[in-house]
Symmetry: D4
Subunit: 218 residues, 8 copies
């Protein structure tokens, strides 16, 4: 008997496949989950490199692991082929979260370009790529520190904008609360946000929108 | 010369028309804005009844004011005719925020049904109306206190779900932080949220999605 | 002379036997306590595996240590034979705290079944087991992240319900404050709660109720 | 059509009758609820004197209103006849919350004595009445400021103890967080707690225990 | 004998003349201070209109009171004649704080233009006036809500930039903490900030810079 | 040249000798300070065992290091001979802070008995030793978790009482904020407190009182 | 029967006479307490002028009420005749709290001079009076805003120093947390502190010291 | 293709050269940045010794690394030759942040003397060096714990004063919030501040002032 229940019907019910948050789980628990999954594809998030290497070689062989984003694909995941969403990222330290979003979208079939290092301290970097960003139906913005990118982008883009604050920063920014508050208190209307460092959640929110657009939501 | 600049091009740029947050403004400032707007439609939010009555009779005559939601329409606003979004509300104390969302959507042309008093303490009330809720392309959920409605709904509905925490509650719930944390920390994936009591912002987020679906986003 | 005083009369006075919180104590201090206890049974909580292994082999031999819950029984503890309480757990990461409650109850003579992985994101998992949960006189609920399980369960169960928030989660959920607030601010009435990660305290609260029911309270 | 749904089956389902939290509701909304209830008994909480007087005379006539506790009984509520619980209160400023608990218990049929002004600054006052307190199957403790009463009482009493922190105090005690933390962090085991100022919730928790003892829980 | 000591030498010592914070003082206390000051000029801050009108007519006659900024000049204050600083303001609700800065500078002899309503939700409004802003030796930026203006401006302007967060906003922005955190955590380097709503302090900081530039600092 | 200045005249000026907080200093910095001190006695606080062992053997030889309290005496410190203060301690986990107070008093010439493990969960343990505690002119109380000891003791003892909250505890007690709030919000009058874990500061406060009593204060 | 118990033996037990905190009590409750006290002297704190005027004329006649400090003496209180303590106050807005301390000391027989308006922004004001301050056996320091006075004074004075933070200030100082943190985190050793705005508590702490010095403590 | 964009024009635009925050970056990322920079000088901040040693020997050879301040210069940086700013530091534990400011100024051409260990607990240490401090056009003050140095200095110096709170301290001072609040809530006017531990930001703020003075700002 197991202490976990994989929710294989979740995709039908909510448009989002079951994923496994590895943080706080032991290698043995993850191993049991993978064995239980068998051939069925599974997304693993927050799988730190050390934990990945603590898995048996056989399990590791079946995983497509990306150390930067700490994600892994189990099972046969076809290359992403759908368009519609892009991920915009303020600084290089925000890349792990931004790539967690990109990878989660890839697992669901969407290839999302990553527009990196466009923080507002150098506004021209953002303006150079604004048309590219505007060409997508959904935009995910990833920023830590003071999170000013969220408001600036919301004033420039008409698409749904999902702010993803990160825990990048120190002092009053430590832990991501400053960026989170910026997203929530934005003077620009129609911005929504997810939990700090939750690139996976931002991707799921984008998937809900994209699938609702495609008439695929239940 | 004025100290304010109405952003009439905002609708084109971001899909959201300019609105006036009346909280913190004097009757004289609001009067000046209305005169400046002339015939152009304008949405006013957080217009408390006392502040509304402090406006000159002439200005009040041109306003369609709703005391519960503290919103007013200035200018000719056609009745809403578009569908696609519904507003779900946990308790009667959350109604002012829920109706702010409904009215903001109406201003933009969308008629959004309000599914009220479906808090999770009586789960059967929510289950009775879940199919009705599922029939919309976007769902706005409004709840204060512990905000458990957000996670329960996110597990039942595949559409984009915009959580709107309210400041309803006392003790640890006072000010809305408990409900906000519940929305952000939800174990159900793909939920996004807006600032506490921000019914207008939730409506704007829904509009971004609906217009992106209709290919109307810039 | 010792710097600690074991309160062997506590069981008579409060219905709860003395327990030793090992967190913050050195192996030498724990060793001294065990020697002082002699044959008398003693419950040790928060005994991390590393600290357990720092004890002399002789002491370890006399301990029934459970690594997941970080509890140990010292002395002869008879197998639990009483019924009346069950422990309900939202996710696999909450298991250490849930098992701390189960083990503390076992030390006091109660065998408590553990209903695991019934978080509200998949409500059907909870509904499948709700009759089993309802068959107990006291229910302990263990959940981290947003803690929505507490309110949902309180609306479904008439028995005394002891919410035990855990520190599972990140961002606004880090440290367990979001789950704690959800328990305290619940829209469902009659729920009580204990400190974050305090599975032992939840068990003690259940014991107070069970013993008061049995007329065994002082 | 109404925006509220009274949950008349809640008593069967959870052992707790529906109550109406008046705080945040208008006189018109409360009036509508009373009319909807008709003859059926209803408990109203947080009904401030000013709001009570804003109700039509006819409605007021049908209410048994207690200004100190801000509670009112609607409909025919028989005098309480059951025993089993007492309410212990640290200072006179905590009386509104303590009496909210007493009145909520009375509405449910339990007469609960109130042991007042036994704060720990004068420990002899508490010790003089400790045997009286110990004679009950459930104890509700109400205290603001630093909430030391909770731990002292938990060390003296074996019965289930429900701590109810109040917002009484200033400086670091303002809002009740200090008393709440004391309840949760107590060094005495088996104490549980409810939200700040939630006398009604404490009563409901006691009712869950009493009814479970009587085998009346579902 | 008085309970206050006006520090007439402060100007020599720190370059900043003594000012009187009226908030928390009674009309009688302010009256005593004005009488004590005699002919010497004095700046009064946070003098709410109601408190102003509670002063004796004679005292009011000697005051140049500005209700929006809640400032008053006592004594003969020559019109400002010096240049070098401008005040930039995000929204109309931030005007009271922005004007407190402008008036405090005027009291010290500097005429500071006010660039209003240039929040980042409409970036083009800021860009239209950026050259005007860049023409000053010191820039004071005033913003509430998420305070994104601070970072955007710091990336566009080379002059010393003094961020002044305001308490404008609700939910997570209430009280000004979100804007304050944005100023402190800014990804743009070299920005400094003052306390929330402290327009007077921002002006004093600008004066320290301007006087140091002019070689007038001690 | 050095980056530190030892304040050898502090004893004359404030009644408290200079002490060195080792936390945050390197072994090299501490070594330089010891060399600079020469024969003069010096108290070192927060000298963790690892840092102590990182000092050169020669320096270690001149130190009387106590690992539990993380204090060390440098130079010739005569055995304490004065009476007047006792240290009362709630639990064994609070011993490091309690002993930091005892050792700091010893350095200043006072021998302070330590009354340990008298937390309020077992009130009889405290009552057994209350007369001993009452026999001192100053009492230092050390407690973590909910800190109820402070209020109980303040109601039982007439002497000056210095509350020293510790960071012992988890959940809402983590970091010591709950105990600190209890000390500050105490319903018992005349209690004062020092920073969390500041046993040295509590000793210094006691010394100020004892020396003022002896007419030795400046 | 009453809901309160006046603790007339407290003076013997703790050296501090019973006082009545009027904040949160009704005029009727205070009236009952005064009648119960009869001839016995009683100190009332936080008796706002409005509440004072709500008392019956007869009661008011027997009270020596000081509006600034919101204190009142009931019964025959002889003029203070003892020396040994002074109260130091940073700004005029801190006077209500400072005078609460002075009045509480007067009620207990001590005349305490008040050294006002010596905030650290003008250090010379403090230095001019430092010898006067040093001549007392106990010093109470009262300050709001950033509370720098506490550390500066602790470095200059050898006597016991009781810091009393006030809620004076705005922005990050609002509510007194900044001043409280400054007192607790002071780099100057041997400072203790009481709750925010607790002038009465500071006086009681001074009384404990003075009476312990006089050998009057139990 | 790279994920970062170095902003070589930033010096022209904002008076501040691009710097690289190494915290949160991998050795590989830093190596890539250095290679990209080539001969152009670059300032690296928060380069911990361990991370420095993880770089290839060749890269390390081109770096002038200062372990205490965790800064490094890449490329040919001429010795600083300009005057105008000094750095004042409260305690030895604040030195890493103070030196980060000194080094950042040196990179920009300014040699800034460091006035160390002048905390307010020994005011005479500060007074001995106050004339030296006053001789500079800009002053940076660095302090942790309670940060009283900021207010004292602001009352003594007329030059622009940039407060830099540090995370030095424990209990309520842990993380630097107490020192930050002291800077913001200062009773001394005209003080500004930067984020906790942001010595680099303080230097940049000083550079904005110095360059504006020299007419070099854009």
């Amino acid at each position: 008997m197991t202490d976990f229940i994989l929710d294989w019907e979740r995709l039908q019910r909510t448009g989002i496949a079951e994923a496994v948050l590895c943080d706080g789980k032991s290698a043995a628990q993850i191993e049991a989950i993978l064995r239980h999954a068998g051939e069925r594809p599974l997304l693993l998030t927050r799988l730190e490199t050390a934990l990945f290497h603590a898995l048996p070689a056989e399990s590791r062989a079946g995983l497509d692991h990306d150390p930067l984003s700490r994600t892994a694909f189990h099972g046969a995941v076809p290359p992403p082929a759908l368009d519609g969403v892009c991920v915009v990222c303020a600084g290089t330290s925000d890349l792990p979260v931004a790539r967690e979003a990109v990878r989660s979208l890839a697992f669901a079939g969407y290839r999302a370009p990553l527009v990196a290092d466009v923080g507002v301290a150098g506004l021209w970097r953002l303006m150079q790529r604004i048309d590219e960003i505007r060409s997508h139906r959904v935009v995910i913005a990833v920023a830590g520190m003071e999170g000013a990118l969220f408001s600036v982008l919301a004033g420039l883009v008409a698409a749904p904008l999902i702010a993803t604050p990160t825990s990048v920063g120190y002092g009053v920014a430590a832990g991501g609360r400053a960026a989170l508050s910026s997203a929530l208190a934005s003077c620009a209307a129609g911005l929504t946000c997810v939990n700090i460092d939750n690139g996976y959640g931002a991707a799921c929110a984008a998937l809900r929108i994209l699938r609702s657009m495609e008439g695929r939501a239940a």
